[in-house]
């Protein structure tokens, strides 16, 4: 083997990845970051395995632009495939180098040496030496060669095993974890930004005189329609921001789409259409063949959704001696540094961006925007570490939302009940408006400044399995397929990457539609899927979920109670997941009550079984929340989802029992798991509702009003 994993080929210096510390620990580095997905522990497990040291000895340092390990974004369920694979190889090579050093030091041939928890010895009595004696605090100065093979799967004692809990849990349960919101700095001041009341609002006037006399207030920063305030104490900053809010006059405009008709709004927008072939948009879309007599057609929608992290975004920034330091929970410290450099007209080497954990991150949330806010305010207050926090309403109103979608499916079944013709049209706004360079940093405060730094007009991403068309290509073997991506250029509400991007809507539609076709032919939804499914791993996952649920696919005999299944392979290339949902529909309230969720998944080689299940189950519950409860509400001007009452999410009283099965594939590549259950869960709920009460729900969220409405039509 001599080809290096791409991240290691890009950063082949082994010292960039692994450091033998002075004390009896090993520090490993990654350009990825902890988002709550447990990546730090999974990487520690991989490193401890390859290095033959105890799991507890491994420390993980995540992305910091001062370290130099640039792995771009922590996104797309790529961290194990990218950083995990690279770190595994780097650690294997470091271990080999340490063995060489030991062999020389002990004057014992390599093949006689063995390693136990970082101590290398010759069992026949030729002495012993530790990693730390050999290389503690010393760089190895070796470049990765790809010539060392990592351990075979059969030799693993940590990877894929349940022993050893996530290493950060003790700190989390004792309150010792320092989230970005918890940072302290001797030069710290507190800051708040006063956001405009609506998307196109411009600040006409601001009377800041009453604030300037308030206790603790250090200064008010105004630049165009961007307003911030700095104070010695947090409550002083909060109060000052409230007063500023009441003293600001804004010119507003009605720019938001009609509420409640998002599907037709999306369809009517100007945009571009692309034929999707093998997962990639390639060329203009043909009109549907008017001669085809479709057996069945249906359309599905999802509204704007929120990330809705429990902790609103925050950042700390310090501008001192011509250098800017930013502490952030961003998914990409390097891209953010570049965008900040562009926006602030600073060279990137004058900026350091360090990742600090934040509350759960499910995609491109407001972390980068908060970092820019903090940087703007820090530059106005040189020498002070500006701790900027968003309020709950800031976060609800201004985070980048998950994009709305409309999906229209059509199929022709032959006389044997097989699909012979398939058509899938998906409309949506962009899923990618991350921070960028080139004059449009795509940071929230940009357009509010004078002169404005406008957002880049969204452009269609045409790479394989990008946003809108992610998972638009079905997992099934269908002889004739027409898949069309309709890119809607308008962006009245900013949208960007929310966990699984377009996959949720596409899988929701495909897997609901498969269920409809099965019902049309009177075939069990399990059997109908298996009839069209060639991928062995997908078949096994589907069967494993049904087996876990003890479900044959037979229709419910108990009105009001039902089961449903759905399946997908995320992005067509990451983990497989099948979900079976058992639920009942309350006769009086029309509330959908989830009773049980069964998940089966194949993510290739499992590194951390408990962590993987945590991701699958968490994704399923979040998806259930989207499906049953969530939509951003707005009028023609203003977003009215401003808190948890106006944007409710799933609560404990609504959470089902969950059971998960992992189909481990030792020795196979890591397949990212963090977004695998988003799509299948939504469709499985819809299908289970049909099984329970014979009603098809095709527009999320499935509120009681929607259930009643659909029941009346049916």
């Amino acid at each position: 083997m001599s080809s290096l994993p791409p991240a290691l080929a890009a950063h082949p210096d082994l010292d960039t990845w692994v450091r033998v510390d002075v004390e009896r620990t090993i520090t490993v580095f990654t350009g990825k970051v902890e988002l709550g997905q447990g990546i730090v522990s999974a990487l520690a497990r991989v490193a401890a395995e390859e290095l033959d040291v105890a799991f507890e000895r491994v420390r993980v340092e995540t992305a910091d632009t001062d370290h130099g390990l640039d792995e771009r974004m922590t996104a797309g369920s790529r961290s194990m495939a990218d950083s995990g694979t690279a770190l595994r190889q780097a650690a294997a090579e470091v271990r080999a180098r340490l063995l060489e050093l030991a062999s020389a030091a002990l004057e014992v041939p390599l093949e006689r040496l063995q390693i136990l928890d970082g101590t290398i010895s010759d069992p026949s009595g030729g002495g012993r030496v530790t990693y730390w004696q050999l290389a503690g605090g010393q760089p190895l100065r070796r470049t990765a060669t790809g010539l060392v093979a990592p351990k075979p799967a059969g030799a693993h004692r940590l990877v894929g095993r349940s022993e050893a809990n996530r290493s950060d849990l003790r700190e989390l349960v004792t309150g010792a974890t320092r989230f970005v919101q918890d940072l302290r700095h001797e030069l710290m001041v507190h800051a708040r930004v006063v956001r405009p009341p609506s998307r196109a609002a411009r600040l006409e006037s601001l009377d800041d005189a009453p604030v300037r006399g308030m206790a603790g207030v250090i200064g008010v920063v105004r630049n165009g329609s961007f307003v911030g305030v700095l104070a010695e104490r947090e409550e002083q900053a909060v109060r000052a921001a409230e007063v500023l809010h009441s003293r600001a006059r804004w010119a507003e405009e009605a720019t938001l789409p009609p509420r409640g008709a998002l599907g037709s709004w999306l369809r009517e927008q100007p945009g571009e259409a692309f034929l999707v072939t093998d997962g990639s948009p390639a060329g203009p879309a043909p009109e549907p063949d008017g001669a085809v007599q479709w057996t069945h057609r249906a359309s599905y929608t999802r509204p704007y959704l929120m990330h809705g992290s429990i902790g609103p975004s925050a950042a700390m920034a310090l501008w001192q001696d011509g250098r800017l330091s930013v502490w952030t929970h961003s998914q990409g410290v390097y891209p953010l540094r570049e965008a900040l450099g562009d926006a602030l007209e600073l060279p990137t080497d004058a900026i350091r961006v360090l990742h600090v954990v934040g509350a759960g991150c499910y995609g491109h949330n407001a972390a980068d925007d908060a970092a820019f806010d903090a940087a703007l305010l820090a530059i106005a207050a040189p020498g002070r570490a500006v701790m900027l926090k968003w309020s709950r309403t800031d976060e609800h109103q201004w985070e980048p939302y998950g994009a709305p979608a409309l999906v229209e499916c059509s199929a022709v079944l032959d006389e044997r009940g097989r699909i012979v013709d398939w058509s899938h049209d998906v409309w949506g706004t962009t899923h990618i408006s991350r921070p960028m360079t080139g004059g449009s940093p795509n940071l929230l405060a940009g357009p509010h400044l004078d002169p404005p730094l406008s957002y880049r007009g969204p452009a269609p991403f045409l790479v394989k399995e990008a946003g809108i068309h992610r998972n638009a290509t079905p997992i099934y073997e269908l002889p004739r397929q027409r898949i069309v991506k309709h890119f809607v250029a308008a962006m009245p509400l900013r949208t960007s990457s929310l966990r699984s991007l377009g996959a949720y809507a596409n899988v929701f539609a495909i897997e609901s539609f498969m269920d409809e076709l099965a019902a049309l032919r009177g075939v069990s939804p399990l059997q109908f899927r298996l009839m069209h499914l060639g991928d062995t791993r997908a078949r096994e996952v589907l069967q494993a979920a049904a087996d876990a649920a003890g479900w044959s696919g037979a229709a419910s005999a108990d009105f009001g109670r039902g089961s449903g299944v759905a399946l997908a392979r995320y992005k067509g290339s990451a983990a497989y997941a099948a979900v079976v949902v058992r639920l009942h529909v309350d006769d009086e309230t029309a509330v959908i009550v989830l009773d049980e969720i069964f998940i089966a998944a194949d993510c290739g080689e499992v590194v951390d079984p408990s962590g993987a299940v945590n991701q699958l189950e968490g994704g399923a519950l979040q998806s259930a929340s989207w499906t049953l409860k969530e939509q951003v509400v707005f009028d023609s001007t203003t977003v009215n989802s401003v808190d948890w009452d106006t944007y409710p999410i799933l609560r404990f009283s609504e959470v089902p029992r969950i059971e998960s099965v992992l189909l481990d594939r030792p020795g196979q590549p890591f397949l990212g798991i963090g977004e695998a259950t988003q799509g299948p869960t939504g469709a499985a709920i819809s299908n289970a509702v049909f099984d329970a009460i014979g009603v098809r729900l095709r527009d999320t969220p499935f509120t009681p009003a929607r259930v009643r409405e659909a029941a009346l039509v049916a």
């Binding site: 988002l35 709550g36 997905q37 447990g38 809990n165 996530r166 950060d168 849990l169 003790r170 989390l172 349960v173 004792t174 309150g175 974890t177 320092r178 989230f179 919101q181 918890d182 302290r184 104490r233 947090e234 409550e235 990330h307 809705g308 992290s309 429990i310 902790g311 609103p312 954990v357 934040g358 509350a359 759960g360 991150c361 499910y362 926090k389 309020s391 709950r392 408990s610 962590g611 945590n614 991701q615 189950e617 968490g618 994704g619 399923a620 519950l621 979040q622 929340s625 808190d643 948890w644 009452d645 999410i649 799933l650 609560r651 404990f652 009283s653 959470v655 089902p656 029992r657 969950i658």
Partner: protein
């Protein structure tokens, strides 16, 4: 300089010189360095800021510090002592009942309060007690299992 306010936090007498309407959460976090309790909404809607007040899980984000004078306050930091974890903390580790962990301080406080008054709760009682606590990562089911584990291991 405002008058000093006397508080009973984690079994210690604390004096803070803040305005009496300063949100208690900010006093805990900024003046006492007890950052386990988190700001989530400022509206008493998510319980990320919950601490034990006379044994009850209570929000701290929207009430002034003066409302807590004379009350016995225990924060997450006060549950473990000398490196010994509270059984609820240990159960959260054993079940790996966390993802990002931001809501977990409030969850643990809520679970401790529940188990004090109902040592062997049913699933329905666990759900009801934790219903005001929001979690966005979807760790709910593991949190329920963690609370069950404490009850099971005690009995």
């Amino acid at each position: 300089m405002p008058d000093k306010i006397e508080l009973d936090i984690n079994g210690r007498r604390e004096l803070v010189a803040v305005e009496p309407d300063t949100p208690f959460l900010q006093v805990l976090r900024n003046d006492l360095g007890l950052t386990a309790a988190k700001y989530g909404c400022g509206l008493e809607q998510c319980f990320a800021c919950a601490v034990l007040v006379d044994g009850e899980a209570t929000t701290t984000c929207a009430s002034g510090v003066d409302a807590f004078v004379g009350r016995r306050v225990v924060t997450l930091e006060g549950l473990s002592s000398a490196g010994r974890l509270h059984p609820v903390q240990q159960a959260f580790i054993d079940e790996e009942a966390a993802q990002c962990g931001y809501c977990i301080p409030g969850m643990i406080v809520g679970a401790v309060a529940l188990l004090e008054r109902t040592p062997n709760p049913t699933d329905a009682e666990i759900r009801e007690a934790l219903d005001p606590h929001l979690c966005r990562c979807g760790s709910h089911w593991r949190i329920i299992k963690a609370v069950r584990r404490v009850a099971r291991e005690r009995s």
